[in-house]
């Protein structure tokens, strides 16, 4: 058996990229049924903010979990069971077609689901989650009569899931191996990003000019990042770290573009031996974790008045879609919470995250074109070919991230409704809000846990020059310059206030 990309439709049923699109579009379509009065998504369980002593006095599951829609009057545990069955069933279909070991996947997903929900519920304990401000006419901090609280909003759940995942991945490696088959952060996050297309659609309806500007600024920033970061890292790698051409090129793409996918795409473009991108990818995944842990609180505290700049800078700095979206989500939660706490006004959630994602999506989109150009340059200027070789145009398509198509499709459908059938929007939003809210956040939670499980810091050992170059390039060059570029293109942009 082999997996090759021969036709334009190759991989449609066998890659996680396509399955992100299918799963995301399926949830999106379920949400749209609310236009016809059918609530097909309200069954999904969501955590409630709760307080420990209050729960201990009078335990009830309904204090911890509820359904996402009042249309469904299910017992909280039944709602959770339905959520488990539906998510396990749908992702198992995807796992089957991706040729994963279904038995291992089912076991792994069940464990990941359980731990994710544990982290999500614990993260909603009021001392971690509640913010001392009025939100939707209610101050939960005062309602629970708290004397102290971290006031981190939903960010604590994400950080807790990540911490548990990292603990499993680094201290319980045998256990991590048992559940690794279902730890698919890229699949989960790309599905979540497709669902975020709904949010982008709603944002466009709310503030069309701003949403378009955000998208275009993201494209410009991504373009600058390509032209600025890659040549500098390549030059430093060759000149000062004495890397060979292939390693320097692959590492440059990994550090400066979009992480693992860029390093594999670049290595493919220059036909490097696969061992190079495999080694570089290990490095990227581990460093992405440092970025994910360090940058969101750092940006929140040093630049609390530049939310969109912070989001865009995150998109350019944090490598891999999973880590970037995860960092964007934490940043969004932390910044919205901090602003609410300090200014008593609530930014609408999702805009900072969208800034991070949009920048990253543009970077992802360009990777196919970048690799194509690099392949031509390599053939003409580096390789000394005896035989005539041309780069197939299909290479751009095979490297194009397909989940972006679904993300754009979801956005375009919302734009279509806005322009051609605005009367259906209020009903569409009923299902859409649940899908881009609870569904998306659950996929994010799965991502945080999974990304921790697959990150093994021990793999940094023996990386030598590559690890040193990566660290220097990231913290001395990429992060500050990315922030500067983000500032140039996004300064002054602020999320609207929550309605």
């Amino acid at each position: 058996m082999s997996t090759t990309n021969k036709k334009w439709y190759s991989g449609m049923l066998s890659t996680e990229d396509w399955w992100s699109a299918w799963l995301g579009l399926f949830f999106f379509a379920l949400g749209l049924l609310s236009i016809w009065g059918l609530d097909a998504v309200g069954w999904i369980a969501k955590p409630k903010t709760w307080e420990f002593s209050n729960l201990m006095q009078d335990f009830s599951w309904s204090k911890l979990i509820k359904t996402s829609s009042k249309e469904y009057t299910l017992h909280p545990l039944i709602s959770l069971l339905v959520t488990y069955i539906i998510f396990t069933g749908l992702t198992s279909i995807g796992a089957y077609f991706q040729k994963l070991n279904l038995k291992k996947y089912l076991t792994g997903f069940t464990v990941i689901f359980a731990i994710t929900w544990f982290a999500w519920i614990v993260g909603h304990e009021a001392h971690f989650n509640a913010i001392n401000a009025v939100v939707k006419g209610k101050n939960q901090y005062e309602a629970f009569d708290l004397t102290w609280g971290l006031q981190l909003g939903g960010g604590f759940s994400y950080m807790l899931a990540l911490a548990i995942g990292l603990a499993i991945g680094n201290f319980f490696k045998d256990f991590a191996d048992k559940i690794r088959e279902a730890a698919k952060p890229e699949w989960f996050i790309k599905t979540a990003i497709v669902l975020l297309g709904i949010k982008l659609g709603m944002m466009t309806i709310q503030a069309a000019g701003f949403a378009y500007e955000l998208a275009l600024a993201g494209a410009a920033a991504a373009f600058v990042a390509y032209l600025l970061f890659w040549p500098v890292i390549y030059y430093v790698g060759r000149k000062f770290f004495k890397l060979n051409r292939a390693s320097a090129a692959v590492l440059s793409s990994g550090i400066s573009i979009c992480g693992v996918s860029a390093s594999i795409a670049t290595a493919g473009a220059i036909k490097a031996k696969p061992i190079i991108p495999i080694a570089v990818s290990t490095l990227i995944v581990v460093y992405a974790m440092f970025e994910l842990v360090i940058l969101p609180p750092l940006y929140t505290n040093i630049a609390p008045s530049h939310p969109i700049v912070n989001g865009a800078a995150m998109g350019m700095t944090v490598k891999t879609d999973g880590a970037d979206a995860a960092a964007g989500a934490i940043l969004d939660e932390l910044m919205v919470s901090k602003h609410l706490k300090t200014h008593d006004e609530q930014w609408e959630e999702g805009w900072i995250l969208s800034a991070a994602i949009l920048t990253k999506i543009w970077i992802d989109v360009f990777i196919g074109i970048w690799s194509f150009i690099l392949a031509i340059v390599w053939i003409r200027n580096v390789e000394n070919k005896k035989h005539k070789e041309k780069i197939p145009w299909s290479e751009i398509w095979f490297r194009f991230p397909k989940f972006v198509l679904a993300y754009m499709l979801v956005w375009i459908i919302y734009l279509g409704m806005m322009y051609f059938s605005p009367d259906v929007l209020p009903d569409a939003k009923i299902g859409g809000n649940i899908v881009q809210g609870t569904f998306r956040k659950f996929m994010f939670m799965l991502t945080f846990l999974s990304i921790g499980v697959i990150t093994d810091f021990g793999k940094l050992k023996g990386m030598g020059r590559l690890a040193l170059l990566y660290a220097l390039a990231l913290f001395v060059f990429i992060a500050p310059v990315a922030y500067l570029v983000a500032y140039i293109f996004h300064h002054g942009m602020m999320p609207p206030l929550a309605q």
């Binding site: 036909k271 696969p274 392949a375 070919k385 070789e389 299909s394 290479e395």
Partner: protein, 92 residues
């Protein structure tokens, strides 16, 4: 049939191969031919030899499709494609 005649309107004959990688070597094969080499240039040379030995003169289009199953499972979620190659061999 090792050759796929690509129709009346095409001058060149086409050969399809699967390309993969073991620990140290590139491997290129189809149902009737297999070659291993340290570099892709050597692979190309071996294919040229094979064509010279087995076939008449002419222009041959050689397509190589990389088998992505050779990548570790956890990598495939990031990028499901490595590369394909389109080569032309003019055998006279």
């Amino acid at each position: 049939m090792e050759f796929l005649l690509t129709g009346l309107f095409y001058k060149a004959m086409q050969l399809d191969f699967t390309l993969t990688f073991t620990e140290n070597q590139w491997v290129c094969y189809n149902s009737t031919f297999k070659t291993l080499a340290n570099t892709l240039d050597e692979i190309d040379d071996n294919i040229e030899k094979y064509i010279r030995e087995k076939h008449q003169n002419g222009v041959f289009k050689v397509k190589m499709f990389f088998d992505f199953d050779r990548f570790p499972l956890w990598h495939r979620q990031y990028m499901p494609h490595y590369f394909n190659r389109d080569l032309t061999f003019d055998i006279n």
